[in-house]
């Protein structure tokens, strides 16, 4: 808990007073104040740092007052970040700058803290489409530090989409976006806002009366609460470990996959862009004429065909495909580009594979054809519609044989006498590990390692994506390939947070950097 340290040299000034309260009417309530050069007002969102933690908490000031003994307190309504309630989000991966306003009855939604615990002002915009919420423009959403449109009920421990009428005794309209300008001008000389201020004062006074009863109670708690935030065991021990786990590497990959998936459609809108005359002709890739013929005979299972092809030298590994292509589409592409028919198998994407480019195995009919194709792809450039040049190489697949080394499964070497008998009967059943076993501890080690590798992989993907974008931006066919912020294609694949991702993609990189620099 941050102690109310003596404010040594940090500038502080009270703003507009709202009223008085408390048993002896010696507690003064305020609407605004200036602290360390920053102006704060009621219902502003602020950062609060807890000692020893790297990430600040974010909350809304819902009450500001000064006690008789000159101590200054604020009551804060908390925002939860996705990390803190990851268990309740389950599968869902909201964007990093989405917050959840605390609501409902229970411990953990609000706290009283000394005013000096405030570390800074925060710009949180409510993006809810609720009718009571003044809608913010796109720029405001982009510039905001955080957004929120949902609440987390601390009583039921549930995420709610619908916002109640009152949260923590305050009417919700004060917690949503402010009408008019976000900045609350508390000097009355600013004429434009004067009307607003008066309206607010009336509203606030009403609220003040409503919550006067609860005020005296909260003021009486002058003992600094021992916890900055007392949460009902929302994160129990095992869950705490897993709340990190549930962040999977998928979100970034999902994003770029969608971004890439949009490109082909984008190119359709600008077919005339290829105006600058060169020898290249764009060919529309349609189904090959003989597409159906291949269904006549089943053929051997793929692996055998691949093996024979590899021996004959007709197997080619094609790279830098759009990962969402299917085998049939790639066959068509080859047909159009080389006038050759072939059989293709797209390599299935695993968690480790790159989300930017896909690969496929192509079996040509003759070795010379395969070599010719590779050579041609090397020298020239076969550009696909979203600015991807294909290239290939004679493939050298490794066939999964008897894999004997697998790290992580430990075996205790038993006494030789028992070994023959026991080994045959022992079958390790699949089970969930329980927390009080040695096995659990070791499993945690593996989970930690997995998390680390995931993070490293994610960073790498981010970097690769940036490099790709830079190159694409320099491409002349920039009309096709540039970030499709204006193109919103509603398909079943796109979720809401992915859309926000696209808007905020640049922002996020900058934000991530600034976050790490504040640590």
């Amino acid at each position: 808990m941050v102690e109310a340290k003596t404010v040594e040299n940090i500038e502080f000034k009270w703003g507009k007073q709202r009223g008085v309260g408390g048993k002896k009417k010696d507690v003064k309530f305020y609407e605004s104040f200036s602290y360390d050069g920053v102006e704060y007002a009621l219902y502003d969102s602020v950062y609060m740092y807890k000692e020893g933690e790297t990430e600040p908490y974010i909350g809304k000031l819902i009450k500001i007052w000064e006690n008789a003994d000159m101590t200054k307190k604020v009551k804060v309504l908390w925002f939860f970040c996705p990390r803190e309630i990851s268990y309740y989000l389950g599968d869902e991966k909201p964007p990093e700058n989405e917050l959840f306003l605390a609501s409902g009855e229970g411990v953990g939604s609000t706290n009283v803290n000394p005013l000096e615990a405030i570390a800074g002002k925060c710009n949180v915009v409510c993006s809810s489409k609720d009718s009571r919420n003044p809608q913010s423009s796109d720029e405001e959403l982009q510039e905001a530090d955080f957004v929120f449109y949902r609440t987390f009920d601390v009583g039921n421990c549930r995420i709610l989409d619908k916002i109640d009428d009152q949260i923590a005794g305050i009417e919700v309209k004060f917690l949503l976006n402010r009408v008019g300008n976000q900045k609350f001008q508390w000097t009355e000389s600013y004429l434009g806002e004067k009307v607003l201020i008066e309206e607010k004062v009336k509203g606030l006074q009403k609220v003040c009366h409503d919550s006067n009863g609860s005020n005296s109670k909260s003021v009486a708690q002058t003992t600094p609460a021992s916890e900055d935030k007392s949460k009902p065991n929302i994160t129990k021990d095992p869950h705490e470990n897993y709340s990190g786990l549930s962040k999977r590497p998928k979100p970034d990959e999902g994003l770029t996959r969608l971004a890439n998936g949009k490109f082909p459609e984008a190119s359709l809108r600008q077919p005339s862009r290829e105006g600058f005359k060169t020898n290249c002709q764009i060919q529309e890739v349609t189904r090959r004429p003989e597409a159906d013929r291949s269904k006549w005979f089943k053929g051997l299972p793929w692996e055998e065909r691949m093996q024979t092809a590899h021996e004959q030298g007709t197997l080619v590994l094609l790279q830098n495909l759009d990962p969402s292509y299917t085998s049939a589409e790639v066959e068509d592409i080859i047909w159009h580009a080389f006038k050759q028919s072939c059989t293709v198998k797209m390599i299935q994407r695993t968690a480790l594979a790159s989300p930017h480019s896909g690969q496929a195995f192509v079996i040509f009919q003759k070795r010379e054809v395969a070599e010719m194709a590779v050579a041609k792809l090397d020298e020239g450039c076969l550009m696909l519609s979203n600015g991807r040049p294909l290239f290939g190489s004679i493939a050298a697949p490794c066939f999964p044989g008897k894999q004997s080394t697998f790290f992580g499964h430990l075996v205790i070497t038993k006494l030789r006498i028992h070994r023959q008998r026991v080994m045959k009967e022992a079958v390790s059943t699949s089970h969930c590990s329980q927390p009080n076993t040695l096995e659990y501890e070791m499993a945690m080690d593996w989970c930690l390692l997995q998390e680390r590798s995931d993070i490293a992989l994610r960073k790498l993907r981010q970097q690769q994506r940036q490099e790709m974008r830079k190159l694409w931006a320099t491409s002349v066919c920039v009309g096709i390939v540039s970030l499709p912020t204006s193109i919103v294609i509603a398909s079943s694949l796109i979720q809401r947070d992915a859309q926000l991702h696209v808007h905020k993609h640049n922002r996020r990189n900058v934000y991530a950097e600034s976050r790490s620099s504040t640590d």
Partner: protein, 201 residues
């Protein structure tokens, strides 16, 4: 048009299948289909198990599989359980991972209806050629980076496995020594000598 409608229905059916499927990672190579079936059968009905073969990566990486369940709710339950508690299959203590499946994990997927691809050959004189070659080189570089990262991860995994192995062996030895001492009479004998009680747990 007939072909588009069948394509769409095919695609819809495929999408529905994707929703029901779970992608499992970090499997030991000794895991067989029946093991996966029984393991995930605890969560619901398993309709189909398909291992994803590894043709391009290094030999040591763990295996992965696609498991099709009866309905999306079961798939979700599987993923949730496996993420919350470490689930062991065919050996301990390395847990498996599970994710919701995605379209590209299936190699036999139908074409997404309504998508059109265009391709063209770019000439050397075309200003784009330079960029295209750069992109090609970049992609190759990325592939090499990926491989490098993968190898690093494998090295770390090996280290962890070794470390755990040693700790485990040490613990086992310690416990077996204690066991032996108690069972063959040394402990009770010594206890008599020192006039102490042996705690017979």
């Amino acid at each position: 048009m007939d072909s588009t409608s069948t394509a769409e229905t095919d695609y819809a059916v495929f999408l529905e299948k994707v929703k029901r499927t779970v992608y499992i990672d970090n499997l030991s190579p000794q895991v067989t289909e029946s093991v996966v079936r029984t393991a995930l059968g605890q969560f619901g009905t398993v309709k189909n198990v398909q291992f994803i073969p590894n043709y391009t990566g290094p030999k040591n990486i763990p295996c992965c599989a696609l498991v099709e369940m009866e309905c999306p709710r079961q798939a979700k339950a599987v993923v949730l359980e496996i993420t919350q508690f470490p689930f062991m299959m065919s050996g301990m203590p390395r847990p498996v991972r599970a994710f919701r499946a995605e379209e590209e994990m299936f190699d036999d997927r139908p074409i997404k209806p309504g998508r059109r691809i265009q391709c063209r050959w770019v000439d050397r004189k075309d200003p784009d050629f330079e960029v295209a070659s750069k992109i090609k080189r970049l992609v190759r570089k990325h592939a090499a980076e990926d491989l490098f990262l993968l190898q690093q991860q494998l090295a770390q995994e090996e280290k962890l496995a070794k470390q755990q192995d040693e700790t485990l062996k040490a613990n086992y030895k310690k416990f077996s020594i204690i066991d032996n001492v108690v069972s063959d009479g040394t402990a009770p004998g010594l206890a008599k000598l020192y006039n102490m009680k042996v705690f017979d747990a």
